[in-house]
């Protein structure tokens, strides 16, 4: 809906000025932490110690960025965080794709191929979104150990898929709920197979919800620290664990500019996803997922 609070005249009414000022003030509020991180990452250590955190650097330096990426010490290896960056990519891509695909299939079955008790199945799966993850650490490590997956990327992907399923299923189920069942029925009468219908009828029109799901999952998996630290510490550790090692070393010297640059590297992929896919995000939400 596109009605406007204020009249429709094109002239500059005082209300619209207030409106824009309010929006910009909030934009500044949201941008502040990012701004602090950015300017700090371009300052020298001396300036950080003495200066104002909100001031621009008096002397710009890109050294912290170079160091964070290439030669800051994380543990005993001083090769920066680039290796961990790829670890995260290797973990995020399969985890997101798998959980999205499984969520799509689940949503499809739960709306178009219903069976007695489907509500219970869905309800039980959805509740899984809400358990505090700390409680699963101990039993999960036993399970991963049992299957020989402890400390592997595969194990970590498995964990993320397991605890992402609830949300992905929720998204797709709500989306497919609104998808005309008549089309599916017609295809069945034409003899289309279970997967054929999914592949040729539902999937092509699932764009918006796939975007929502991928954004959601990508953010959660990329930003996870708890599982990454517990199940894949060491060389295979994801970015957040490396960042934590850099930033939270307890008795070392803190190089805040390098920390901030590293944090920016850790933030870039998710930021990029939000900025690039952000417009589809609202569209995807519109398309059904919020209308539970």
């Amino acid at each position: 809906m596109n009605s406007t609070i204020v009249g429709t005249k094109q002239g500059v009414s005082p209300w619209r000025v207030v409106l824009y000022v309010t929006l910009i003030v909030f934009a500044i509020f949201y941008l502040l932490p990012l701004f602090v991180m950015l300017v700090t990452s371009f300052k020298t250590l001396d300036e950080i110690r003495l200066g104002n955190i909100l001031a621009f650097p008096s002397e710009w330096t890109t050294e912290p960025w170079v160091k964070a990426w290439g030669n800051a010490c994380v543990g005993l290896t001083c090769e920066g965080i680039k290796g961990y960056f790829w670890n995260s990519i290797k973990m995020v891509v399969p985890a997101v794709l798998l959980s999205t695909l499984m969520g799509a299939l689940n949503g499809y079955v739960l709306t178009k191929w219903r069976f007695p008790g489907h509500k219970w199945v869905f309800g039980l799966m959805l509740f899984g979104c809400f358990i505090p993850f700390q409680i699963v650490l101990i039993p999960m490590s036993q399970v991963l150990g049992f299957f020989g997956l402890a400390g592997t990327t595969a194990g970590l992907i498995f964990v993320h898929v397991v605890y992402g399923l609830g949300f992905t299923t929720l998204f797709f189920r709500n989306y497919y709920e609104a998808f005309p069942t008549e089309l599916v029925k017609a295809a069945m009468i034409d003899g289309a197979s279970f997967l054929g219908i999914f592949w040729r009828i539902l999937l092509p029109s699932s764009g918006p919800i796939i975007v929502v799901t991928i954004i959601w999952q990508f953010t959660n998996v990329w930003n996870d620290f708890l599982f990454g630290a517990s199940f894949a510490a060491g060389e295979g550790a994801p970015m957040t664990v490396a960042l934590n090692n850099l930033v939270n070393s307890s008795t070392g010297v803190k190089e805040y500019n390098v920390d901030m640059a590293a944090a920016m590297f850790a933030a870039l992929p998710t930021l990029l996803v939000y900025i690039v896919a952000g417009r589809y995000f609202v569209r995807g939400l519109m398309a059904g997922s919020v209308k539970g």
């Binding site: 005993l76 199940f231 010297v253």
Partner: protein, 434 residues
């Protein structure tokens, strides 16, 4: 149609099984990736020395081992003085796949040994004669029921005061304060001059570090032992304890307003820059001074916390050796041996600010504060005044330690009276004990 069905079914089952698939494929990969020729084995080391000088210091050990054909698999997990690393350790042990060696403190070592998860280093220890060179108070933790389970890396002592020399000169302070009142008079002078007298980091473990020093100064080593090691109820509710709490409040009045949540190194930075007169902190603080190119006795001073001269409250990092497969024990033993090698002990502790865990090492390369620390350690060890640090898990188990933290930090950050604080302290310790 049938072909399509078959195909789609295949895809479907592939999807459903994809998890198991990736799993099986990846499983075999990482383990035998790097096989070199004269390899003795591999050690996987879990630690929280993840950055800066301490990581570099540990690198010395890595190089030593690599020279002997042992490869080093690094597993750093920083955060909360090892808290996060301990979480990771639990999940690794539960997975039946513990690391070779784990950096650990105090009672945690005992708890893991009690679970039967640790290796036995007795043969090595006998051969190397560790019993004679490691201080007895330390051995109480490196050994469980008489068996060696860990190689100590260093001994930190926590009852130090770090002062800015120039500020002290300006205040006309020429010698180390001998007792608590002398400390207060210095702090008063600093306050008059408009300098923050005491640099405090307001995190529970830092407040507890200050607290244990004040308690030791107030009640002496016997009281300290009774209260924090024996957890004796009378000592916990004694007048000495009340006085300790009162003194904490007094010290708080010398801190600046913004101490809450401040990291210890920022507090040290205040002293380095002369914004604050002094800081009470373990000897890892020295590293921060050295990093800022400051020289002991010319730029900064190290005293024992006033009233605790002759006593040392210690906190020692140890590498606890876990039970590993037989083919890895040789590498594990080499690591345990190298940790205790005087060469490593010197190289590491020069950087870390602590002193070697064996008392037979030359102090020639150490600076003034290091030399003093080594001398104090040897004397305290001999005189029986080498006490485990409560704040760092060398006096009481984790549950009790944290219960004490709760009361100390609550009292320090609110207007709870000393009378109530001792009651809460006794109750909290009681609740966490058994």
């Amino acid at each position: 149609m049938t072909i399509r069905v078959l195909k789609t079914t295949f895809i479907a089952s592939a999807l459903a099984m994809a998890l198991a698939g990736t799993v099986a494929a990846e499983d075999t990969k990482p383990k035998d990736a790097a096989a070199s020729v004269k390899k003795v084995g591999e050690v996987e080391v879990l630690h929280w020395w993840t950055a800066g000088g301490e990581a570099k210091a540990l690198g010395v050990l890595k190089e030593m081992l690599e020279g002997q054909g042992v490869s080093w698999k690094d597993m750093p997990v920083a955060g909360g003085g090892g808290e996060k690393a301990m979480t990771v350790l639990r999940s690794r042990v539960q997975a039946g796949n513990p690391p070779t060696a784990v950096q650990m403190l105090g009672f945690d070592i005992r708890d893991w040994a009690k679970e039967g998860a640790t290796a036995n280093l007795d043969d090595l220890a006998t051969k190397e004669g560790w019993e004679k060179v490691v201080p007895e108070a330390l051995q109480a933790f490196s050994r469980y029921e008489g068996h060696w389970v860990a190689s100590p890396v260093n001994v930190h002592s926590t009852n130090w005061v770090w002062a800015n020399k120039k500020v002290m000169d300006d205040l006309g302070v020429t010698e180390a304060p001998k007792d608590f009142d002398a400390l207060i008079s210095i702090l008063d002078k600093a306050k008059e001059k408009g300098i923050t007298p005491l640099a405090i980091g307001g995190q529970p473990w830092q407040e507890a570090t200050l607290f244990e020093a004040v308690a030791l100064s107030t009640g002496g080593p016997e009281f300290y032992k009774k209260a924090f090691i024996d957890l004796d109820k009378d000592a916990l509710t004694s007048d000495n304890m009340k006085k300790t709490f009162d003194r904490m409040k007094k010290l708080r009045s010398y801190a600046d307003a913004n101490f809450s949540g401040r990291d210890w190194n920022l507090a040290a930075g205040m002293v380095i820059e002369g914004k604050a007169a002094l800081q009470v902190m373990g000897d890892w603080a020295k590293g921060e001074f050295l990093n800022a190119k400051k020289v002991p006795d010319t730029d900064f001073l190290c005293y024992r916390f006033p009233g605790t001269q002759g006593n040392v409250t210690f906190n020692a990092d140890q590498f606890v050796m876990f039970k590993v497969k037989d083919d890895q024990t040789e590498a594990q033993n080499l690591m345990a041996k190298d940790v205790m090698d005087p060469k490593f002990q010197i190289a590491f502790n020069l950087v870390k600010g602590s002193v070697p865990a064996r008392t037979d090492v030359s102090d020639a390369e150490f600076d003034a504060c290091g030399k003093k620390g080594m001398k104090d350690l040897a004397e305290a060890s001999k005189g029986g005044t080498l006490l485990g640090s409560m704040a760092h898990g060398y006096a009481a188990p984790a549950a009790v330690k944290n219960a004490i933290y709760d009361v100390v930090t609550k009292h320090f950050n609110s207007d709870v009276s000393a009378d109530d604080a001792v009651k809460q302290l006794a109750a909290a310790v009681e609740g966490a004990k058994e």
